[in-house]
């Protein structure tokens, strides 16, 4: 297509973005992408096709973390210039908006790599346009129950997306029964990321844990050790591109088993792109967790300082795994912040699919419930705990719970906060953090 055609469209989009920003109607993220995508559907393809390497990352949990980890790794390569969409802007209009924003006045994009987080149902709709060289699927869980209804449908949508890209290499979670079967019957080269079975069996997958087919390619994490500060040490071994990978000392600062998968995904993709393991590990060490994914916020008043460590929960799997992490914390101080806005899932039934019972092995100092559905959370806890710790405070106002927790905690203590998405945004705002990180 004629590059000249792009120029007026790009100019329009840039003007619109500017107008939106000046008039204070948002940071101008989605609207230009929406309008251009709707009236000039060829623009997405014209823009992406200028970037030599395109990686699409999809799946229920860990899209953002995998994307951030991979960017951190690619940044180690001297020539690399990486384009990525913002966390959450993962529908086609969000991706297009980012491309429009990053292009120059004549629609040129000067990047070597695009690392795109793609929402699950969006993949089949844009796969043919963005032609990813690599597709990664982190895992497939029931998420935001009322958004799509059925996980089977999501699995099918992702498979349809992959089927449109027969030459793409596919990196999947090799333990998750749903993702590990995605390329069955397709010709795509597939790489399986897995944890050694003694760890994988603790993870709340739906259905039987997949067992690796002998001879298949991929990476496995062994010797996983979660430290008290929730950083995780592990070793990596396996085969990528028929070459042996062995990395005895990998580390991620993001807490938990999920993030080991994300790190494996980043290492594998880096490897496929010709970046060696040592560089990948060095890159992972520069990675900073995205907001809500293990980030620490501090509140100070006079001499007293309390740290709040945020671990986003968005579905039963991530909730159960976060609780698993907290089992080893001495004198655990915990805030559970549950909202039922659209982005959290309006149906709180998922609290009952989350394994709060794992707290029975934790060393609990105190637990506070907050958010719109604080009272639902308190009921769930009452039924989960074998020995209830007395009445469980349930206060809708997150502001009041922050005050209360600050009072209850000692100076230097860390309070763990498990919020749903909008509760997390509110919590950060109350702590003086704004949305724009990254």
């Amino acid at each position: 297509m004629n590059q000249l055609l792009l120029i007026p469209i790009i100019a329009f989009a840039k003007l619109l973005t500017l107008a939106l920003r000046v008039s204070g109607r948002g940071s101008g993220t989605a609207l230009p992408g929406y309008l251009v995508g709707r009236y000039f559907p060829f623009v997405l393809k014209a823009l992406v096709s200028q970037i030599p390497v395109v990686v699409a990352i999809t799946g229920t949990n860990g899209k953002t973390t995998s994307q951030t980890m991979l960017s951190a790794v690619l940044d180690q390569a001297p020539q690399a210039k990486v384009l990525r969409n913002k966390a959450g802007a993962n529908l086609s209009q969000g991706i297009l908006s980012e491309l429009l924003k990053q292009s120059n006045a004549v629609g040129r994009l000067d990047f070597t790599h695009a690392v795109l987080e793609v929402e699950e149902a969006t993949l089949p709709r844009i796969a043919r346009l963005i032609k990813p060289n690599i597709i990664a699927v982190t895992n497939l869980y029931r998420d935001q129950l009322d958004a799509y209804g059925e996980i089977d449908r999501t699995e099918k949508l992702i498979r349809d997306g992959i089927a449109q890209c027969p030459t793409a290499a596919v990196v999947v979670n090799g333990d998750d029964p749903r993702t590990s079967r995605l390329t069955q019957g397709l010709d795509n080269a597939t790489y399986f990321m897995s944890l050694a079975p003694e760890y994988a069996r603790f993870l709340p997958y739906e259905g039987k844990l997949n067992s690796r087919i002998p001879g298949s390619q991929g990476l496995e994490a062994t010797n996983i050790h979660i430290n008290e500060d929730l950083t995780t040490d592990f070793s990596v071994q396996g085969q990528i591109n028929h070459e042996t990978v062995h990395l005895p000392q990998a580390k991620t600062v993001s807490p938990g088993f999920f993030h080991v998968y994300n790190a494996l995904t980043a290492i594998a993709i880096a490897n496929l792109l010709g970046i060696d393991g040592a560089t990948a590990i060095a890159g992972l060490k520069t990675f900073k967790p995205a907001f809500g994914r293990g980030e620490i916020l501090t509140r100070q008043q006079g001499d007293k300082q309390v740290n709040y460590r945020l671990l986003l929960v968005k579905n039963p799997a991530s909730f159960s795994l976060s609780l698993e992490l907290l089992r080893n914390i001495p004198a655990l101080k915990l805030i559970l912040a549950i909202n039922d806005n659209t982005a959290d899932g309006k149906d709180v039934s998922w609290l009952w699919d989350s394994e709060l019972e794992r707290l029975n092995q934790a060393n609990i100092d105190w637990i506070l419930c907050t958010g719109i559905r604080a009272k639902d959370m308190a009921v769930r806890l009452k039924y989960a705990l074998d020995v209830p710790p007395g009445p469980i405070p349930a206060e809708e106002s997150i502001r009041q719970i922050i005050d209360l927790s600050f009072k209850e905690a000692g100076s230097g203590d860390t309070v763990f906060v498990l919020p749903t998405y909008t509760a997390m945004l509110e919590f950060r705002k109350l702590m003086g953090k704004t949305l724009d990180v990254v």
């Binding site: 089977d152 309006k346 149906d347 039934s349 009952w352 699919d353 308190a378 769930r380 009445p391």
Partner: protein, 263 residues
């Protein structure tokens, strides 16, 4: 004499959507707190049901493929026993898919009607064009007067219990009640059985169907106790059997919050 209760969880590995197991967590704990010896037995694919072995059936909802798969198994290996048991007054609670499946027809995700188990006289159909595609949202209902009156006889010491049930519905199937089946409740907020009828759920003998997730029993402890009470009354052939009162502060606080916010 301490009471014992056997609960059969039907197809737990196939029908486990949207917190339905929360209902079992609640039944189990409340029995424990009331000193009732409670056993939960899974009964799944390829296992034969025997009548007279249980006091209480629970069946949740599942994804389409799973629901279709279990219908054949149910007809061949479970139908006879469960029909005999429920006719004899054994308690049965079906939620969403588990409710639809008990009827004459139920609905798959592609909108196709399929033959159900035919144990209660209800039918679930595809939404017509003038009806919303999916009934989804918080649901607040008023318990029908016969059930509410009976519910109040369950406790040894009379107590104040809400007239309401609260939950969250998520279904496209439209359920219509036939002869011999009473609605469980009248809709205050949300839809319930279908987008036009203003009633939610069904009761036939001690078979109860409901569209309420949420989960259903945690925020409706009075309904949980009622079902436990009915099951024990049948098992011990004692219509005057009563239950102790638990402190339900958290449960009723959560219940009341939903009534106030979403009605």
């Amino acid at each position: 004499m301490p009471y014992a209760l056997t609960i059969t969880h039907l197809y737990p590995d196939y029908l486990n959507l949207y917190g339905d197991t929360g209902n079992l967590i609640v039944l189990r704990r409340r029995c424990q707190w009331m000193g009732i010896d409670c056993t939960v037995k899974p009964l799944t694919m390829e296992e034969v049901a025997q009548s007279g072995q249980t006091d209480f059936y629970f069946m949740g909802g599942g994804q389409d493929m799973d629901q279709v798969a279990i219908v054949n198994d149910f007809h061949q290996l479970k139908h006879e026993a469960i029909q005999a048991d429920t006719e004899a007054g054994v308690v049965f609670l079906g939620v969403c898919g588990g409710y639809q499946l008990m009827g004459n027809t139920f609905l798959m995700g592609n909108g196709e009607e399929t033959q159900g188990l035919g144990i209660i006289n209800v039918s679930t159909r595809a939404p017509s064009t003038d009806v919303k595609q999916r009934c989804i949202g918080n649901l607040v209902v008023e318990i029908n007067s016969a059930v509410y009156a009976e519910m109040q006889t369950i406790y040894a010491t009379p107590r104040k219990i809400p007239r309401t049930l609260v939950g969250f519905e998520n279904h496209s199937g439209q359920t219509y009640l036939g002869n011999g089946v009473e609605p469980l409740a009248k809709t205050i907020a949300g839809f319930g059985n279908n987008a036009t009828a203003e009633y939610e759920g069904a009761r036939y003998k001690n078979v109860f169907g409901s569209y309420m997730h949420g989960s259903l029993l945690p925020k409706n402890p009075h309904f949980a106790d009622y079902l436990i009470g009915l099951a024990l009354r049948r098992k011990y052939a004692d219509v005057n059997l009563t239950l102790p009162t638990l402190t339900d502060t958290e449960e009723f606080a959560a219940h009341e919050f939903v009534v106030q916010r979403y009605r």
